[in-house]
């Protein structure tokens, strides 16, 4: 039946992760470092308020934009934590996860012929969403030697006059890179000069170590050019609740709300009630999770460096992205052979874009014991590869 598929869907490449997923599923005793979601269960107070909303009979649609109480709470939260100011009436839209928000941004502002500038490597959805919106993608490579921060020179090289939207996804999945104010300012100048819009995917903004997150939208003059996307999945360990949001200029939010009302109608109501509780009472639980991630992050970086591999220190998200090129294996070969020989699943860097070659993504959203065992197995594998050279 393939011939019935629309050409742009049929030609859309499947996620690079998919192939791995299928292979892992056939194997036993695998330790996986391949998961992009927290290993914590949603804090109890948040779960409890979801349960309470059901008991109260809150099982209906909400307004398209989402419960006002949640938007209002979010507006205060963003102001307090990231110095952003959005009117909860017209400038915030609650979505089914940040994934929907990314899709809405692309579909609301892009059309055939438009180009989206996407950091490489980065999360797997940006390019497909752009293509489904009729646009095409120009990658902005980022490099380990620059700590995987986007440099304006590389952005300028990737730029074409048809570019309309720039994606900034920091803290970054898969690299764990962050961009601070000094890194972002030249990008902001470039955005201004070339009249670009920015999709700032700040989903990992709460998970930073050593430095606090600076939102691109908070830079001078960037608020109305930026569509600020985030959600509750990573910060509050709420992936399955599917609650995200997008904030920005009222005109753009209104455009996105039109698509949202015809395709999604509203985000799940139970998740929206739970999200209100998360903002009100789960911040300490969130900080405890960040502390736990930080310990694991240090363990992982130390572990890979002990093996003799280069591993840049990630300052955000919950991934390490070690350089495995010393083993003379491509990242796909490395991931595949590691899985077969040591039963450890990691994701090849190339699943996140061509600049991921020579790297693997390891999530540290696992218990200390699992991470220690995984590091032990990986080190056996690496040792064999390095001595055979």
């Amino acid at each position: 039946m393939n011939n019935y598929l629309a050409t742009h869907v049929a030609t859309l490449p499947p996620s690079g992760i998919r192939k791995f997923f299928d292979l892992v599923a056939t194997m036993k005793d695998v330790i996986s470092l391949g998961v992009g979601e927290p290993d914590f269960v949603t804090p109890w107070t948040v779960r409890e308020s979801g349960i309470f909303s059901l008991e109260e009979g809150q099982t209906m649609y909400t307004s398209n934009a989402g419960l006002f109480e949640l938007r209002d709470e979010l507006s205060h939260h963003l102001n307090k934590t990231l110095n952003l100011s959005y009117d909860p009436h017209h400038e915030i839209l609650i979505t089914s996860g940040a994934s929907e928000a990314v899709d809405l941004v692309m579909r609301a502002v892009l059309g055939p012929g438009d180009v989206v500038l996407v950091p490489d490597p980065s999360y797997v959805s940006y390019a497909p969403c752009a293509i489904l919106a009729g646009a095409s993608v120009s990658y902005v490579p980022t490099y380990a030697r620059e700590n995987f921060r986007m440099r304006v020179e590389d952005l300028a090289r990737a730029y074409t006059p048809k570019a309309k939207l720039l994606v900034l996804s920091y803290p970054n999945n898969p690299t764990g890179a962050i961009m601070n104010r000094e890194d972002l300012l030249p990008i902001a100048d470039f955005v201004n000069e070339h009249d670009l819009l920015v999709l700032a995917d700040d989903i990992y903004s709460d998970l930073t170590y050593d430095e606090t997150h600076v939102s691109f939208a908070s830079l001078p003059g960037m608020r109305d050019r930026t569509l600020f996307v985030s959600g509750f999945s990573k910060s509050y360990a709420m992936t399955g609740w599917r609650i995200g949001y997008v904030a920005g200029h009222a005109d753009l939010i209104q455009g996105m709300t039109k698509i949202h009302q015809y395709t999604m109608l509203c985000a799940p109501i139970m998740g929206q009630f739970a999200a209100i509780e998360a903002l009100r009472s789960a911040n300490e639980a969130k900080n405890d999770m960040v502390t736990a991630y930080d310990r694991r992050r240090r363990l992982m970086v130390h572990g890979f460096r002990q093996m003799g591999l280069d591993c840049f220190e990630p300052l955000g998200a919950f991934y390490v992205f070690p350089d495995i090129s010393k083993t003379k294996l491509s990242s796909e070969e490395f991931a595949e052979q590691l899985l077969i020989e040591e039963q450890v699943a990691v994701v090849p860097g190339t699943a996140f874009g061509p600049s991921g070659e020579g790297h693997i993504r390891c999530s540290y959203a696992y218990s200390m014991e699992q991470l220690q065992e995984a590091l032990k197995r990986i080190s056996h594998f690496v040792e064999r590869r390095l001595t055979n050279l």
């Binding site: 996620s15 791995f20 979601e37 310990r295």
Partner: protein, 165 residues
């Protein structure tokens, strides 16, 4: 006041006191020398007062009985409740001792092998003490949670995908 890094270090030790200074160093970014020195300071300052595993005795099959005892005491001039508390804390049967606000003064957690043990302790040692006005003994029937650890019910097992973006 604790510095932020010291607070983190202390919290980490409170969660798992088996970690060696080298492991603590990897997980915190502090040097092993600093950690060793700090722990030794805290031990001297009685900030760290001991190292104990948390044991759920109910699972060992050993008989053990615990009781919470409310004690009303006449405060002593010049000493308040401290004098009697200092004396009470010497008893090895008393595992915890608090001064409380509200309807009574001291709260004691007592452990013994049998109910008889506990009853005997209350009658002979505690109730007969000078300044003790009354006692009320509440036996523990079952422990559900202790020291922040849930002792009952199934552990929540995560059903995550093996690989996800």
């Amino acid at each position: 006041m604790l510095s932020e890094k010291d607070r983190r270090l202390l919290k980490l030790i409170s969660e798992d006191c088996r970690l060696k200074p080298e492991e603590l160093s990897v997980q915190t970014g502090l040097s092993p020398e600093y950690i060793t020195k700090r722990i030794s300071d805290w031990e001297n300052e009685k900030v760290i007062v001991g190292y104990q595993p948390m044991i759920n005795w109910d699972r060992t099959g050993d008989e053990k009985v615990s009781a919470l005892i409310e004690v009303k005491v006449l405060p002593q001039r010049g000493y308040g409740f401290d004098k009697i508390a200092k004396r009470l804390q010497k008893y090895p049967e008393i595992k915890a001792l608090f001064l409380m606000s509200g309807g009574y003064d001291l709260s004691l957690l007592i452990e013994g092998k049998t109910m008889q043990d506990v009853a005997l302790f209350v009658a002979e040692k505690l109730a007969s003490l000078e300044h003790v006005q009354s006692t009320a003994t509440h036996f523990v029937l079952r422990r559900y949670k202790q020291d922040g650890i849930e002792l009952m019910g199934e552990e929540e097992t995560l059903q995550r995908l093996v690989v996800s973006p």
